[in-house]
Symmetry: C2
Subunit: 125 residues, 2 copies
DNA sequence: GTAAGCGCTTTCCTTTAGGTAAGTACTATC
DNA sequence: GATAGTACTTACCTAAAGGAAAGCGCTTAC
């Protein structure tokens, strides 16, 4: 039962466990919010222009999209490429760094599905 | 680069990929917020009473704590045990289900730390 | 009987995330 | 010259999360 923390403390000591907690909270912070993950996945699916993304993620407003793109640029999930056509073409694409999310997203998805099933089963009794 | 989605689509088809996305968002939803994870970890560390938790998680208000405990009970992370002492003693403890978070938290922690390092390094250049 | 502790609840307030609508500066097309 | 598209920005509004302060019903201790 107490394996999570106990295992952690066996190897690391109490303070490093709190530290690892901080990293979890960091991760949840950069991935949190309504649009960050859908946006990253949309760009992993293929580079896109502003309006293409807006169309792909139905319901996002241009203000929010502009904000999220800036944020994802800062966190190096997304690169903004400007092409000197007339008029300029701006293309957003997912970076290699986005691909590092793979394992995390896989684990989250597996756990999320199992959890949903568990709660659903408890409910119907 | 596009391995995440491409791998997913090779095995599952586009709709199941969107489904797995939904599970990720579900997971982030049940774990999201300022106090849920600290609270779960505090109780995994050992069963506690209301005031003990409040002391352990410095800064949480009784209102928020009561809300979060109810929520975690619904999601079966926490069991509320009432002992018929005088006055009654109420003890919150983490369930076995809390332990299923282990892998997810580990992955989030590893990724979170690596991400932090990456961004920190980019900043100082 | 007064004070203090427990496990909360209630009320009110602030902050933040997110949404709506409109506008801007540019260019291309009819 | 009007219309439409691209990539945004600005101003304003709403809803939800979270925090602060006080109170409540209970009990034991002094």
């Amino acid at each position: 039962m107490e394996t999570m923390i106990k295992d952690c403390e066996m190897v690391l000591g109490k303070e490093e466990c709190a530290g690892s907690m901080k990293h979890v909270l960091d991760a949840l912070y950069v991935l949190g919010g309504k649009w960050k993950l859908p946006l990253i996945l949309s760009l992993i699916d293929g580079p896109k222009r502003f309006n293409e993304i807006q169309h792909d993620l139905k319901g996002i407003s241009p203000k929010i999209l502009a904000n999220e793109l800036k944020n994802l640029e800062l966190n190096e999930f997304v690169e903004r490429k400007v092409y000197a056509t007339t008029p300029v073409t701006i293309i957003y694409e997912a970076t290699e760094h986005s691909a590092t999310l793979r394992k995390v997203l896989y684990e989250l998805s597996v756990w999320g599905e199992a959890h949903r099933e568990k709660i659903r089963n408890s409910m119907k009794r």
